[in-house]
């Protein structure tokens, strides 16, 4: 059985510190929903409010349409997988897994049977008699999942359950988790600060920063249509040009930056335009959206890049740059360029199509990108590197 989860105007305060600020989220039943955000942004705090370890200072948490105020964690239809797993070290694996049944008074035989089923599910058959300390990290992870599933929750809450694992095991467990979720069909609320994890597994992702939900959407919209500077800088890699808005309409914004006049998509937030002429703005361009433009750049081409775009017909924006360094990554070339007036080196990713790059450090080049592949956003806090 699955249930939906609804957070309405939830605030959580610790003294003067606000750990969650006006959170409004609705999670549909049976979906895989992720909270993504840097360390300390309040993800665990929100999860604890859902599981009942913490009462929101204000607002409403409801699960399956029922208001959860005053209902303790042991009465909620949720099961939490803790950041540190919190397996019971003094119990064997099967006792751990069937703890939820034990406290409900299930007999030993029934518990053993259920344990075998779940051990099968997590691919650890016949390991029930081991102590938890005798398991490897990945195996413990799976036991924690089985233990939570044994409680037959409507909503499974996972607090960075894969953070302690090495990369390979982590990738394996991602697929496994997603498979388990499809099989049991209950709502998963997943917390992570790893964007790869969030994007690959989730139906929907909520990006958080400092206790505020910055954006909710599926992986595609989070990556391709960020609605705030924080999301654009936190999710994936982005080149940043700051400047002032020269002109704006509903679809595009023109920004005057030290790198020249740039044209980019106008990002809406909640259906509303965010920029007006004269505002400070950031233009974000992904490394894979940047191209080498044909022909050397000239001062005049830079100054009137919009006109140039119409003449070449291919690229809306052109920037003069100098190659600083190139890194060969097998399937990709990463090129770092200096642009006058831009602090951080601009990064460009090119698919290695077998042809040699034919360029070297120190060479003057022209970079270009299409306005549709760049986004202009109001200046705001950026994610830490």
């Amino acid at each position: 059985m699955s249930a939906d989860v609804q957070l309405d105007e939830v605030w959580i305060r610790f003294g003067d510190f606000v750990a969650a600020r006006d959170i409004n989220i609705s999670i549909r039943q049976g979906e895989f929903f992720s909270f993504l955000g840097p360390s300390g942004c309040g993800k665990t705090t929100l999860l604890r409010a859902v599981s009942g370890f913490l009462q929101p200072s204000q607002g409403r948490v409801s699960i399956g349409g029922r208001d959860m105020a005053g209902i303790g964690p042991n009465k909620r239809p949720t099961a939490l997988i803790f950041q540190n797993l919190a397996l019971f070290p003094l119990m064997t694996v099967w006792e751990n897994i069937t703890f939820a049944l034990e406290v409900r008074g299930a007999g030993r035989a029934a518990r053993r049977k259920k344990a075998e089923e779940l051990l099968e599910l997590i691919a650890l058959p016949g390991q029930g008699e081991k102590m938890v300390s005798e398991l490897s990290g990945g195996q413990r992870q799976r036991v924690a999942i089985a233990r939570a599933l044994a409680a037959e929750p409507s909503v499974l809450l996972l607090d960075e359950p894969l953070s302690a694992l090495d990369l390979k095991l982590r990738q394996h467990m991602r697929t496994e988790l997603r498979a388990i979720q499809r099989r049991v069909g209950i709502t998963f609320i997943y917390i992570t600060h790893d964007q790869g994890e969030a994007l690959t597994m989730s139906d929907h992702v909520a990006v958080m920063s400092h206790g505020v939900i910055e954006q909710v959407g599926d992986g595609n919209s989070i990556y391709n249509r960020p609605e705030s500077a924080f999301v654009a800088s936190f999710v994936g890699e982005n080149n940043l040009f700051s400047g002032t808005v020269a002109a704006t309409d509903d679809a595009y914004v023109t920004v005057d930056s030290p790198a020249g006049r740039l044209r980019a998509r106008h990002a809406m937030r909640g259906g509303k335009a965010q920029l007006a002429a004269g505002d400070s703005a950031f233009v974000f361009v992904r490394p894979e959206s940047l191209k080498f433009a044909a022909g050397a750049s000239s001062a005049s081409a830079e100054a009137s890049s919009t006109e140039a775009s119409s003449s070449t017909g291919a690229l809306d924006n052109r920037i003069g740059a100098r190659i600083h360094q190139q890194e060969f990554e097998g399937n990709f070339w990463q090129v770092f360029c200096d642009v006058d007036g831009v602090d951080k080196r601009v990064k460009l990713s090119m698919v290695n199509d077998g042809a040699s790059m034919g360029r070297g450090p120190g060479e003057e080049v022209t970079l270009g990108f299409n306005a549709d592949l760049a986004v202009a956003l109001p200046q705001g806090e950026l994610a830490a590197e």
Partner: protein, 455 residues
Amino acid sequence: MTPRFILTAERVRNGFAALFVLGFFAYLFGPLIIMGVTAFNSSAFPRMSPFECFTVEWFDVLANDAKLVEGLRNSLFIGVGVVLLAVPLGLSGALMLTQVKERVRPWYYTIVISPILVPGVVLGISTLLFWDRIGTMFGASRDSIFYDGFFLTIIGQATFISAYTMLVFISRLQRFDVSQEEAALDLGATHVQTFRKILLPFLKPAILSAAVLAFLASFENYNTTVFTIVSESTLTTFLAGKVRHGINPSISALAVIIVVITLLGAALHEVLKRREAAAEKETARIAAGELARRRRVKPFALEPAVLLIALVFVAGLGSAYFAGTIGVEECKAQVKAEKIRQAQERTRQREAKAMFQNAPAASEAAGQQIQSTDKSERAGVSQFQGIFDVGNLKDQAGADDGGDGAAQQSPLGTENFNPIFAPQNLSPPIDSSGDNRNDNRSDGDNRNDNRGGDQ
């Protein structure tokens, strides 16, 4: 070419370090060793030299001392009572500490820990008075529970012993991962189930050590017990009384037994700890995949260390018993003959001296002894003559509580000093000297003596 010993700074440092360690161990274990030796010396007063005859008779004396056995039994009973009371109290105190608000915590801690800082004597007296008040309030008779020595002692000792046990629990609880409790709750357990299935198993080792600690603390307690025990006696109060009324090496024998039991316990504990560590290592290797499955654990009794301990213990016991029972009587007879001979010798010498010197020197001799604080002189056997003989002590009770220290304070000659501390002499001052009276009053033990006498 013979290698020459070169004195380097490092060698000197090491030498000093070794010397220090030796000295430290001598300081720690010297008294125990001396005590151990006296338990096997046939001399009627516990002493190491002269070593007269090797004997185990003091163990017999110990076993046949009915009052001592009764005191021991009472001590055990009270110890168990204190464990039953102090462990749950300490546990709840420690749990409470984790529950109270951060701001209140230091205050709470200070309050619950304060019984440790209050002198045991004060605890004893206040327990006595408090329950007396309560008893009076209910109009209870003198043989009701409010005046029962066992009840009062258990309650009185538990007041501070539960603070000890609380410390044990606090240190264990500090290592408790609260998320385990939360995990249990999250899986649907009630708070009671969480306590029983998660917290209690985690605290089990701490409960054991708190119980042992509480028992030992109760067993060896004197300060509080001496007030609360009323008309009963425990091992400690009995021993204290015995020290005052004449001591024999059966006390050393008791000490030897306690030391041996402690050593055995410590050795056992060490063995268990090593086994646990080994098991843990194996667990880690299983988790790492180096080991397919757990090796069968050797039965505890077959552990080499255990065997060795048992062997040494049995062999020691056996040889001590044989050496201590065979030929003791002949040896004693010899020693006695020798003593008589020496005594005769001394009398002869004294008589000879008396013939040369005449009487008036008596008071002068006393004066001289005041000034002479030279240790060797005070310790000189010939001067003390028979002070330390049990026979003498019996009719001069009280003098034994640290003859040396008392002698130093006493402005009087040794010969006169003996009876001062005898209780019967206390009320009428034997001497007009105010100093002397103060001396007596400041001596805590003597006061106790008085109190004991009044009851």
